[in-house]
C-alpha cells in the first residue's frame, strides 16, 4: 500500500468523519475506503469534493456499512 495514501488518509480522516453520514475511513489496496451509513448522495458528494480538492487523483471506494455500534 503506497505510503502517500496512508498519509492522505491520516490527513483527511478527521474531516471526512465530520461529514454527516460518514462512519469510517479506511484503506484497501490502492484506494481510500469511505464507510457510509446509507445510500444517500449527499455524503458522497461532500466526500468527493473534499478528496478531489485536497488529494486529487485519489481513488475512493464507497462502502455502505450502516451505522456502527458497540455490539452488545
Amino acid at each position: 500500500m503506497p505510503d502517500d495514501l496512508r498519509s492522505v488518509k491520516q490527513r483527511l480522516a478527521p474531516r471526512l468523519l465530520a461529514i454527516d453520514g460518514v462512519t469510517g475511513v479506511g484503506l484497501r489496496e490502492d484506494r481510500l475506503v469511505v464507510y457510509l451509513e446509507g445510500p444517500g448522495d449527499g455524503a458522497r458528494r461532500r466526500v468527493s469534493a473534499l478528496v478531489e480538492g485536497e488529494a486529487p487523483g485519489t481513488v475512493v471506494e464507497y462502502f455502505e456499512s450502516g451505522e456502527f455500534r458497540r455490539v452488545n
Binding site: 468523519l17 475506503v33 451505522e67 456502527f68 455500534r69 458497540r70 455490539v71
Partner: protein, 332 residues
C-alpha cells in the same frame, strides 16, 4: 388480515382441518426416519389462515393453509390420502415448511464450566441503571504476572469505564440468566479507558479469574484450540472466524485493516483509529451480544482481533494492540 378480523367461516374451516388431521399425532411418531409419508397425520405439521398463493403470487382470496413437512406430487398420493381442495366453502393452500423445530439456545449463552472463550459473560448494573440486563462474550484467557484473566471489551466488563475495579463478573451474563452467587467467576482488574475526547485504539478490559473458577482456553466450537499464543496481524482478504454469545460461529473476510471509524457507545460517538473491518461470509458476522469475541485467522489458526462493534460489518481491534496495552499474553 389481523387475528381479530378473521371471518367466522375461515376459523371454522381451520378448526375442522385441525380436528381432522392434527388431533391424532401418534401416527406421526411412528414414522421411519428414511421414509416420507403422504399420510396427512404424518406429513401435516400445522394449520393456519392466510391468503392463497397461486403461481408464487399472494392473491386476495382467503384460505386455510395446510403446512406440510414435504410436498409430494399429487399423482403419487393414494386418493384417500389426498388433502381436500376445500373445507366447506373455504379453499385450502398447501405450503411446504420442512421440519419445524424449537430454536435451540446457542451454547455460548448457557452456563459453561470450565469457562471457555465464546461464552456469555457480564456484570450487574448498579444505581440508576439497576434493572437493566446485559451480556457480552468472553474473548480469551490471558496471563500476566502469573495471574489468569478473562479478556473482553471495556464495555462488557467495565460498563464503559463506569464500574470500579473489583466489580464482580458473572457467567452467564445477567441477560442470559446469570447473576447468582455461584455464577460469579471473576473480578474486574483493569481496563483501557474509553474516551470521547480523543481517538481510541482499543476497547478492552481484564477480569482476574476467581480461584474457584475452572477455565479452559479452547474456544467454543467450532473455533477450538488456537495454534499459538502469538497473535497474527490481520491482512486484507484474510479468512477469519469467531464464536460469540449471540450469533455463535460465523466466518468472514477482512475488508480493511486500518479503518478510522465512529462507533456509538453510551459515552457518545467514539472514534477508533486503525481498526479491522470484517465482512460476514454468509450473513452478518456479528450482532448484539458478540462484543468481546476473539477473531481467529482460519489460515494459521492464530488469533488476530477482538470484536467490539459493528453495523453490516464487524469492527475489530488488532489483538496485538490489545495485548500490548494490557501487558498480557494469550493462554492456549
Amino acid at each position: 388480515m389481523k387475528r381479530h378480523e378473521i371471518p367466522h367461516e375461515l376459523n371454522t374451516a381451520k378448526h375442522t382441518a385441525i380436528s381432522r388431521y392434527l388431533s391424532d399425532r401418534t401416527a406421526a411418531m411412528a414414522r421411519a426416519p428414511w421414509a416420507r409419508s403422504a399420510h396427512p397425520a404424518r406429513n401435516l405439521l400445522g394449520v393456519g389462515i392466510g391468503h392463497k398463493i397461486t403461481k408464487g403470487k399472494v392473491t386476495a382470496k382467503p384460505c386455510v393453509r395446510l403446512y406440510l413437512e414435504h410436498k409430494i406430487d399429487r399423482a403419487l398420493i393414494p386418493r384417500d390420502l389426498l388433502l381436500p381442495p376445500n373445507i366447506g366453502d373455504v379453499e385450502t393452500d398447501v405450503i411446504e415448511t420442512g421440519v419445524l423445530r424449537a430454536l435451540a439456545v446457542p451454547a455460548g449463552r448457557k452456563r459453561q464450566r470450565p469457562l471457555r472463550p465464546g461464552c456469555s459473560i457480564g456484570f450487574r448494573f448498579a444505581d440508576d441503571e439497576a434493572g437493566n440486563l446485559m451480556a457480552g462474550t468472553l474473548g480469551a484467557i490471558v496471563e500476566g504476572d502469573g495471574v489468569r484473566y478473562l479478556l473482553s471489551n471495556n464495555h462488557v466488563l467495565a460498563n464503559e469505564n463506569r464500574l470500579p475495579v473489583g466489580a464482580i463478573i458473572f457467567q452467564p451474563g445477567p441477560l442470559d440468566g446469570g447473576g447468582a452467587a455461584d455464577d460469579r467467576v471473576a473480578t474486574l482488574t483493569r481496563f483501557v479507558e474509553l474516551t470521547a475526547d480523543a481517538p481510541n485504539a482499543v476497547d478492552c478490559a481484564l477480569a482476574a479469574v476467581d480461584e474457584a473458577t475452572a477455565v479452559r482456553a479452547t474456544v467454543l466450537p467450532r473455533v477450538g484450540r488456537l495454534a499459538g499464543a502469538e497473535p497474527v496481524d490481520a491482512a486484507v482478504g484474510m479468512k477469519v472466524e469467531k464464536t460469540g454469545r449471540a450469533t455463535g460461529y460465523t466466518t468472514g473476510t477482512v475488508h480493511d485493516v486500518s479503518a478510522d471509524v465512529q462507533v456509538l457507545f453510551d459515552l457518545g460517538k467514539l472514534t477508533f483509529q486503525d481498526q479491522v473491518v470484517i465482512d460476514g461470509d454468509d450473513g452478518p458476522f456479528c450482532d448484539g451480544g458478540d462484543s468481546g469475541s476473539l477473531v481467529v485467522d482460519q489460515g494459521t489458526g492464530r488469533a488476530t482481533g477482538l470484536l467490539f462493534g459493528g453495523g453490516r460489518v464487524g469492527i475489530v481491534n488488532h489483538l496485538g494492540d490489545v495485548l500490548t496495552r494490557l501487558a498480557v499474553k494469550l493462554v492456549v
